[in-house]
Amino acid sequence: MFLLGFCHYIRQEHKPLVFIDHRHRIMALERPGSAQKQPSKLRWGELDEDDGEDLDFLLPPRQVIGPDNNGIKKVIEYKFNDDGHKVKITTTTRVRKLAKARFSKRAIERRAWAKFGDAVHEDVGSRLTMVSTEEILLERPRAPGSKGEEKAAGDALGQLGKGGAVLMVCRTCGKKGDHWTSRCPYKDLAPPTESFVDKPPGSDTVVASGGTKGAYVPPSMRAGAERPAGSDMRRRNEENSVRVTNLSEDTREPDLLELFRTFGPVSRVYVAIDQKTGVSRGFGFVNFVSKEDAERAIMKLNGYGYDNLILRVEWATPRAN
């Protein structure tokens, strides 16, 4: 007994390019007078070609049984093998209908068209056509029919905002009175809240100029280059630096100074401003002269309500890298 693989190519509508391998072919070798089974590797393509001798008329005719209700089809054939023994080959195949594909007669003819152009000399490995490894969902933004309700709810909130009871400020893009954070159209663009950028934009002017040999260093950062006077101010490498996040966009550096100077002498205040829009990005840094003052400020002001927002105040620890 040995198994013989056979491939059926069945066109299927929703998963094209799928070769369904029905390995249900069982082949039985029946050799009169010999119980010994000979495991030989036959290729199915060779089966028809082996009849060198004209003894085929001695063999019983080919029989086809089925396919039955379960789709099992049996084909019984007889032939002589290399040793001259008569062999009965029973091929059992399961026939399964996978999909109905309606093709016009013309389309079936076109299937058999010879390839032309670049497609003739196509490498097997070129893999021009591939099935996507990821499943693509037809993503729906909302359940159909719910648009009206959503709009109504939005209006209600909008009304509140206009009444002055709630100030609508988007924490993602900093827009005021336009939408809520959860509905921000630029939500995708916002950095994830946890991995908040430590450095304000433009602060990373300090580049480790040593060590990275061969890397390009802008002329302004090369050793000995003149630095603009302001660049020192924007550096955030001093100690006792405190990061303040969730600031309202109205908050400017003087406001922050006002708030933090009560804890002790402040050496630097910085509020991150979006360079394009000129609007505060909602976070800033305060540097204290003494560490104790900074500690106290964090203790007192973390969670402090400031301009309708709850401040988050913490040590501006440099990122671990």
Binding site: H14, S104, R106, W113, F116, L128, V131, E134, I136
Partner: protein, 364 residues
């Protein structure tokens, strides 16, 4: 049902809407259950951005044009490449295939339009112009073809009508009719009902209807309701009664082919480069994305490179299909409505066969 809906007046449509909103909870339930999943087939036969996609009438062949010089034909069921049409010497902008799938016409930036034998890939005829050819379209009956040419070196844009001979040996290059007038490029020109008119749209954002007998301009769309920026794409419905235009003004509009009245407008948040209409369901698909030149400087999530599905009648977005790494330049629906393909600036054609759940999407 959809076609009749289009003809309803506003009051009746409102009634339908109301009826629908009552049963919205049911619809939502239904929506959660069904999630249309697809495993698209990716075809990477082109080395440059795709420009146009076209299925033949039987829906078994898919023709793709790209800025590389060789249009390609694929089997539309499994994405296998059947052949390429070599001979153009510039970007190929547009193509059309005859109803019996024997002839292919392509318009290219090499200032020519070519007729091809679909089966063998041999060139049958070359129409030469003095400026790049942009849009091509066979008329009903395949005896005529319209070819538009771009403004170039002082020449204005033009729409040429050519006679297509049954026997390629009898083919001549003379134009039956040349239409001139619109400023700027004409991005698409298609035949109207019964070949009596030609509908054109392009850079000047105006949709025009021309008489094919006299060559006169019959209609221009109402400026009030029309597009504000370049019309990039135009797709006819299966029966030709209405057509959809996509524009860089981030909207797509549905027009009546005869009266040129605006039926619907679909707003989106990206410039629309390609449009397609489902022949089976009341769905329109819009593809686009930010300008290719801005892609590298912005976040990929902001590019909005999905193909967006809209309900044709409610003008409501019903879904998006992601996948491309660049803006979508071409969209085409299989004539059986069960699959669609999109071609992107990324050089890929993505062939999507819909999941059975897609057909369960509630529609009015």
């Amino acid at each position: 049902m959809g076609k009749t809906n289009l003809l309803l007046n506003d009051g009746q449509l409102l009634l339908l809407l109301l009826r629908r909103s009552k049963s919205s909870s049911f619809l939502q339930l239904n929506f959660r259950q069904s999630k249309a999943k697809m495993r698209p087939i990716l075809m990477k036969g082109h080395e440059r951005p795709l420009t146009f996609l076209k299925y033949n009438r039987d829906g078994d062949l898919l023709f793709s044009c790209a800025k590389d010089h060789t249009p390609t034909v694929w089997f539309a069921d499994n994405g296998e490449r059947l052949g390429t049409y070599a001979g153009h010497n510039g970007a190929v902008w547009c193509c059309d295939v005859s109803r019996d799938s024997t002839r292919l016409i392509t318009g290219s930036a090499d200032q020519s339009a070519k007729l091809w034998d679909v089966q063998s890939g041999t060139q049958l005829f070359t129409f030469s112009f003095d400026s790049p050819a942009r849009a091509v379209d066979f008329a009903v009956g395949d005896k005529l073809a319209v070819i538009t040419t771009d403004p170039f070196m002082g020449l204005t844009s033009a729409i040429h009508v050519k006679r297509i001979a049954a026997d390629p040996d009898d083919q001549v290059g003379d134009s039956v009719l040349v239409l001139k007038g619109p400023q700027g490029r004409i991005n698409r020109a298609v035949w109207g009902p019964l070949n009596k008119t030609i509908i054109s749209a392009g850079e000047d954002a105006v949709v025009r209807i021309w008489d094919t007998e006299t060559g006169k301009l019959l209609q221009e769309n109402d400026k009030e309701v029309g597009h504000k920026k370049t019309v990039t794409s135009l797709a006819k419905s299966t029966d030709g009664s209405h057509f959809l235009t996509g524009s860089l003004d981030k909207s797509a509009k549905l027009w009546d082919s005869r009266s040129l009245t605006l039926i619907k407008t679909y707003f989106t948040e990206r410039p629309v480069n390609a449009v397609a209409m489902s022949p089976l369901l009341n769905h329109v698909v819009l593809g686009g994305g930010q300008d290719a030149s801005a892609v590298t400087t912005t976040d990929h999530r902001a590019g909005k490179f999905e193909a967006k599905f809209y309900d044709k009648i409610l003008q409501e977005e019903i879904g998006g299909v992601k996948g491309h790494f660049g803006p979508i330049n071409a969209l085409a629906f299989n004539p059986d409505g069960k699959s669609f393909s999109s071609g992107g600036e990324d050089g890929y054609v993505r062939l999507h066969h819909f999941d059975p759940d897609y057909f369960k999407i509630p529609s009015i």
